[in-house]
Amino acid sequence: MAATLKPEGNGAGTQAAAFVGRVVLAVAIPLIAFFVIYEGFIFLRDSNAPKWVITAVAIVWGVGGVGLLYWVFNGIVERLPAQWTARLQPFVFVGPAIAILFWYLALPTARTFWLSLFDRDGVAFVGLANYKAIFTERLMREAFRNNLMWIIFGSTFSVLFGLVVATLADRSRWEKLAKSLIFLPMAISFVGAGVIWNFIYEVRPANVPQIGLLDALMVAFGRQPQAWYAWTDIIPWNNLFLIVIVIWLQTGFSMVLFSAALKGIPSELMEAARVDGATEVQIFFRIMIPYIRGTIITVWTTIVIFTLKIFDVVWVMTGGQFGTEVIATQFYRQSFVARNSGFGSAIAIVLFLAVIPVMVYNLRQFKEQEAF
């Protein structure tokens, strides 16, 4: 671009003017760009304009602003002498990503660790006392127990149901429809899913009609409504009522991966087994399961990570009360409700350490699967 602006073979005066023009342009365009971006920020923060105007401005400003910044910085770099362009341009491309990752992930890891060594206000150094508290405090022990339940039941049943659905769908004639319907809950937020299942778990007094599906079924099968009480009271099994929600959401995920893996089994192998007189059940356990073992482990570990960090469902459904506390709700409560930043940070670090081994294993598998 710079080359096209350069006038060729003119007088010194015009050349100087062109140079000044370029400098002015190179300074003015970025200044205008920054001004527009700043004004947009102020408008969005303080404006009383109608909501849809704010939304429209936010989208245009947010998306356009980032594009504009790249364009401006690239323009500046391309106007430099060629060897400087070559040297600096990669950093225009990669710099923002590295800066943001540094600010939002790398640095906070160190800062959170540092905070975890201090007391609730971040003033007095307490060493590892917060970590000691994590493993001794009653609510934290409850959270660890519950997270263990989440991991065991949540991942196992998601994998089981996913495997069953994938196998059945593979043999039916309405595979696509069935898979779509099972996958559909994955589009729903945890908060929305919480509402859906709260409605199913709703319990009414004995003398009025039940409106919750679960309790209506209980009554229909002859159970006295008054003998049945709110699900939140059945500690610690009330956690299972929450885990069901995540199984409902995650089965679609495991189903899709298993379905793809099952299609990869050579049909000659299955046919050969059938010719040899193997039953469908034998084929399932002796051929299919061993063949897709790698996928099963990947899906299982992915859901383990997922359940380790579970937060929204619990926070919306019970707020962590009635013995349903998990690590992430404890983290939120300590960090943002109790304002105990030292303790909260220590929990975050523990969560991080718990996730690392599974995550590393998973990323390695992920690369082999070439899921993308």
């Binding site: 990669v94 943001i100 906070p108 908060v191 409605f199 709703e202 009609p209 940070s345 969560l351």
Partner: protein, 366 residues
């Protein structure tokens, strides 16, 4: 047992089992959907499955106890059913299968005679949506004539906020990640390998670890409770994955295509915008759908970074508020929940293939 018969049994088992599971998975959403169109009283007094044909007691006639000469203090006989006042108030069945119920008190009551009959509860309207979408107060007339004033939930405002959060929070990380992925794949610069490994390593960091320090920075910078703050947060938490996935795609683009463009004198910027971005549309779309859904359905990040600003609450926050403050107002909750789901579900049905690919790829998000 013949092979044909064996196959038939097999077919029934497979399809029956699958149908059972599909129903199990669909009914929760269906119940919510159906309920969101039923009136407040209907939801509170009968299960949503009453929209399907079912048998229920229907009033066929009304009797006046005085005209029949009944004494409420003793044992009475009506249409063949015998019982005291108390029993009659709870309802007694007659020998021919009708239900006798005393309605009202002893002196001024009446007797209803009901028979079992087929019924459907098909009284649907959009008033729940009206109420939950609007930001204005809503007047509700109770059956006894009193008027209740219920504050609106402004779900429409929350919906717009969610859009204002989700669209930029989807596009920004993709743009930044695409630039970075291109640089990692096709540009030479010192420390390229080191930076790339760092990006991959950061995939393992759960976002919880960043919340407290970033919130402190935001308080200092005045970014707390602003859209920009939330966009940047979502960008930060999604960028490592986006860069990794887009790198996997962009680095496999055919070398010759790009090299011929360079020989023609195109700059990196031109090659990136004119060639690499259009060629990467499948990868960009898959990640875009994943990120959009992730942000739209997110609750934690919005709670931490937008929580201080009620004006900018997103749908998940608004819905969680209704759960917290009016958890038994099912007419609001069902409609509200459905509003929060409508956009993800549309995306799901419209772009199913990209959707599945995107969610599969995003499953390792930290």
């Amino acid at each position: 047992m013949g092979a044909k018969r064996k196959r038939l049994i097999n077919d029934v088992l497979v399809n029956g089992g699958l149908l059972f599971l599909v129903l199990l998975w669909t009914i929760p959403t269906l119940g919510l959907f159906v309920s969101s169109f039923r009136s407040r009283e209907d939801i509170q007094t009968s299960g949503w499955w009453n929209v399907f044909p079912h048998r229920e007691w229907q009033k066929v006639s009304e009797l006046d106890p005085k005209a029949l000469g009944l004494d409420p203090n003793g044992v009475m006989e009506v249409e063949g059913a015998v019982g005291t006042f108390k029993e009659m108030r709870d309802g007694i069945e007659t020998p021919d299968g009708r239900l006798i119920t005393w309605v009202g008190n002893k002196r001024l009551g009446r007797i209803d005679v009901q028979e079992q009959g087929w019924a459907v509860s098909w009284d649907f309207d959009l008033s729940n949506y009206d109420q939950v979408l609007s930001g204005k107060d809503y007047e509700y007339k109770n059956p006894d004539g009193t008027v209740e004033v219920i504050p609106g939930d402004d779900m429409s405002g929350a919906f717009l906020n969610s859009l204002a959060v989700a669209v930029p929070a989807t596009v920004i990380p993709i743009l930044i990640a695409a630039f970075a992925a291109y640089a990692f794949a096709w540009m030479k610069f010192p420390g390229r390998r080191f930076w790339f490994v760092l990006v991959i390593a950061l995939l393992v960091v759960p976002l919880q670890i960043a919340l407290v320090p970033i919130l402190r920075d935001y308080n200092t910078l005045g970014l707390n409770g602003t859209f920009l703050g939330v966009w940047l947060a979502h960008t930060g938490f999604g960028l490592a994955l986006a860069t990794y996935l887009l790198y996997n795609y962009i680095s496999t683009l055919p070398r010759e295509t790009l090299e011929s463009a360079f020989i023609d004198g195109a700059s990196h910027f031109t090659v990136f915008t004119r060639l690499v971005m259009p060629l990467s549309v499948p990868a960009l779309a898959s990640f875009a759908i994943f990120q959009f859904l992730w942000v739209w359905n997110d609750y934690l990040v919005a709670l931490v970074f937008l929580g201080g600003n009620p004006e900018f609450k997103v749908v998940t926050q608004r819905l969680a508020d209704i759960v917290g403050s009016r958890g038994s107002d099912w007419h609001l909750l069902t409609a509200g929940a459905f509003i929060s789901m409508i956009l993800p579900l549309t995306v799901f049905f419209a772009l199913q293939r990209y959707f599945v690919r995107g969610l599969m790829a995003g499953s390792v998000k930290g």
